[in-house]
């Protein structure tokens, strides 16, 4: 009797392992299929309900964390303030630059979003538990005009693109997902490159394959390049000039040796609440 039980247990285990490996082999690197879309559609109302119900508790915990962080940041901020003061005294037009940045960042009002795109606002209702996948679920889907590969922006800049969409919800692949790559350029001098993440980092990304002839400085703004092939058949998934982030590290040696610089995304990708999906564009 006991032996029979052990045999049955082992058989079930072996079966489940085989199924898991088979699924992994079939679906790895493929777009989400019918099963995933079906399950997402069924669970969408539950996720939305849970998200709404748990928001007060979530906000309270996040408030504690932010307060804790703010204490540590206080000292750093004091040092930074002293630096900024000396820079202002030296005559650098920081205020003007700041205004310029703000104008660029107010995406909807400033007209940064190119014509032909219709922004549709969505709320983030779920988030992947793993650092290895930066994916969030939003409460709008194909019934609101959302389609796969639509760009997604937040109040501060680029957030990602639509990975899968069902009637009432969609999955967004954030720009910090290991599979994400965004063609980008430096706003000032047009140096081209590809922005990709490092697994685990939400506030440090890499701009790779930059033109070593063009100098990039700390504080330079990185925007989407939105390229299109000459025959018009192929194009970037993102429209041009959507702010992505600001260069944080750009040592000359690193630029020349590995042709890469580090940047910090403008969007707070770890704490997203509302996003705009740019629907209907001609990519």
């Amino acid at each position: 009797m006991y032996r029979k039980q052990v045999r049955r247990r082992r058989a079930v285990l072996a079966l489940l392992v085989i199924v898991a490996f088979a699924l992994l082999t079939i679906t790895y690197g493929e777009a989400p299929g019918g099963l995933q879309n079906g399950v997402s559609a069924v669970f969408a109302p539950l996720e939305e309900g849970a998200d709404r119900a748990l928001k007060p508790a979530r906000d309270a915990i996040n408030w504690f964390d932010e307060t804790f962080d703010a204490r540590g940041e206080n000292e750093d901020l004091k040092e930074e303030l002293a630096e900024v003061r000396s820079e202002v005294a030296a005559g650098r037009a920081a205020v003007g630059e700041n205004l310029q940045l703000k104008e660029l960042l107010e995406l909807r009002d400033s007209g940064v979003i190119p014509g032909g795109y219709e922004p549709v606002a969505g709320r983030v209702i779920a988030r992947s538990p793993s650092l290895w996948y930066s994916t969030v679920t939003i409460d709008i889907g194909s019934s609101s005009g959302v389609a796969v590969d639509d760009p997604v922006v937040g109040p501060d800049g680029l957030v990602g693109r639509i990975k899968a969409a069902t009637g009432g919800q969609a999955q967004v692949q954030l720009i910090t997902d290991p599979e994400s790559q965004v063609t980008a350029k430096i706003a000032d001098n047009g140096a081209q490159g590809i922005v990709h993440p490092e697994v685990g980092e939400t506030d440090d990304m890499i701009l790779d394959f930059i033109d070593s002839q063009k100098r990039i400085d700390r504080g330079d703004m990185v925007v989407t390049s939105g390229w299109r092939s000459l025959d018009g058949e192929r194009s970037s998934k993102f429209p041009p000039n959507i702010p992505i982030g600001e260069v944080t590290e750009a040592p000359i040696a690193q630029q020349e040796a590995s042709q890469e610089v580090h940047l910090e995304p403008f969007s707070d990708l770890a704490d997203l609440d509302y996003v705009d999906v740019l629907t209907g564009g001609s990519r």
Partner: protein
């Protein structure tokens, strides 16, 4: 654990609630720069209470559902959580849970192992970008959270599955009463 349709339903609902809590609550909060992960904790608790088969099936189901919900490659999370559930169940079948510290310690250890295995699996599958040291920090902090979350989740699951637990005091009493009844029948 005696799994009746009612108990299976209870387990299913508990796992479902756990998944919803994870994606809508725990994944969206940050404490010390890391979000707690309760999925492995739930599966460990299920394995500890229900044995290796219940743990493996529960872990596989939770993982597959998460893979579906987050549009991730199917099978990756399922494979890891299946192993977690099976190992926790094996522990239950071979050793006794003699101390109240064993469930949280197992939750911590198995979460650590699960996150490490998941990272190894991702690296084996091929990642084109670099991996930050933040991943290692995330694994350690999540494992510590798992220790603290293990206590309430284990107690809650034990309470919910109480009627099915053969080693529970009430169940034991019931078995004893039945046994006495049978003895009386035989002696009469």
């Amino acid at each position: 654990m005696i799994i009746t349709p009612k108990i299976a339903l209870r387990i299913g609902l508990f796992l479902l609630a756990g998944i919803l809590f994870q994606v809508s609550f725990f994944s969206k909060i940050e404490l010390l720069g890391t979000s707690p992960d309760i999925l492995a904790v739930i599966v460990v608790c299920l394995g500890l209470l229900g044995g290796s088969l219940a743990g493996a099936v529960g872990g596989f189901s939770v993982g597959l559902l998460i893979d579906c919900l987050m549009a991730e490659p199917l099978g990756a999370t399922a494979l890891i959580l299946l192993g977690v559930g099976y190992c926790a169940g094996l522990y239950r079948e071979r050793f006794d849970v003699t101390s109240a510290l064993i469930p949280p310690l197992l939750c911590m250890g198995m979460t650590f192992a699960a996150l490490l295995a998941f990272s190894a699996l991702q690296l084996m599958l091929g990642i084109d970008v670099g991996v930050s040291i933040v991943v290692a920090r995330d694994i350690i902090i999540k494992s510590i959270y798992a220790f603290f979350l293990g206590v309430p989740i284990y107690l809650l699951m034990r309470r919910i599955l109480r009627p099915a637990l053969i080693d529970h005091r009430e169940a034991r009493r019931r078995v004893r009463r039945r046994g006495r009844g049978r003895v009386r029948e035989l002696t009469a």
